[in-house]
Amino acid sequence: MREIERDFYALLTLPVSLIMNSNMPKILPDRKVSQVREILRINQLDGVAITDEESRLVGIVTMYDLLKAIEENKRDVPVEEIMTEDVITLSPHNTLADAIEYFRVYGYGRFPVVDENKVFLGMVTPLDIVIRLPSLKEEKEEIKEEEKSRVVRLEFSIEGGDFINGGEASSKIKRYLQNLGLPNHIIRRVAVASYEMEMNMVIHAYRGKLLIEISSDKIVIKAIDEGPGIEDVEKAKQPGYSTASPKVRELGFGAGMGLPNIISCSDEFDIKSAVGVGTEVTSIIYIR
């Protein structure tokens, strides 16, 4: 059971670019409704992306939209007049877990995958996931190798004061690193540093971001927050120094060991803070 679960989690971290259907017909916005319906029928598709000459996504249209238009005698109008323009998209770096979350949250039947220039790369439907999931298991090992040579970036939003979910980002980061097969002592240091950074934002900041960059030789963790900032950074680095409220101390935090812990886990450490603006903490841990 645990083995299966672990496999499943590993699959969830794969990029959607492996799951999407990239073999989609190209449809320009000036195509007639009746033509597009014919293209969908021949290709056995329920929905399709509408793209401009440079392959940039301008909208999507579903078989339902097309049939409705035909019923309203709009057979010969250009498809751009009936397409949905305000489309929620995925980036190729989004994971399978993100895609599943999108289906759950938005309730749409498909999400186009586009790059940073809005160029359409493919479409993801729940059916694509079901069909491609079993074959992905075999591909997984190869992808792991590829991942070693490129930089992976993960980003998490942190809400100040959210003690219930505080730690969830670090927990996801830890699971991700375990799936990459990194050595345990490295994972431990990253987990402790990122957890302290995350909890610092939960305790002190209004909101913030936890960023993690994984490359073949190092892991960079950054916590960037909007918050009150730190008046005396040198003092804050000393073990035992804390400005946390009694409420936070009651939860077992605010013992003044946060920054010292991050520093002792890091190979390189940096902190910048501006009072009334926020704080940026960087921890670099080398993989060796």
Binding site: R2, F163, I164, G166, G167, E168, S170, S171, K174, N184, R188, A191, V192, Y195, E196, M199, L251, G252, F253, A255, G256, M257, G258, P260, N261, S264
Partner: protein
């Protein structure tokens, strides 16, 4: 010592993880300060604490600890138990104080 032995030693109630109690324990950590725990734990072991909020399970997860004993008869809230189940960490509750809990475990280890 096995996790299972703690159940009897401390007259503890197992709130989760009955099937996970066959593991050996070589290290114990007793603290209510999360950052102190994060700073001191080096080997997988069991955490003894009076803190019952969900962050305890997060801390345990970051450090790969293998179990938790809540002292003073404190029952953790559902959020904490839910996390314990999701990361498969056995949860024991004892009426003993932190001092008694540590004392009993220490005595049984040096015997």
């Amino acid at each position: 010592m096995k996790l299972k032995d703690l159940e009897e030693l401390l007259s503890a109630k197992v709130l989760y993880g009955e099937s996970l109690l066959d593991k050996d324990v070589d290290y114990f950590y007793a603290s209510d300060l999360m950052s102190d725990i994060l700073a001191t734990v080096k080997e997988p072991g069991v955490l003894i604490t009076a803190m019952v909020q969900p962050q305890v399970m997060r801390t345990i997860q970051m450090l790969d600890l293998i179990g938790v004993i809540f002292v003073n008869g404190k029952c953790p809230p559902e959020d904490t138990l839910r996390l314990a189940r999701s990361i498969e960490i056995p949860v024991l509750v004892t009426r003993c104080s932190m001092f008694e809990t540590c004392g009993k475990i220490y005595m049984s280890l040096v015997k």
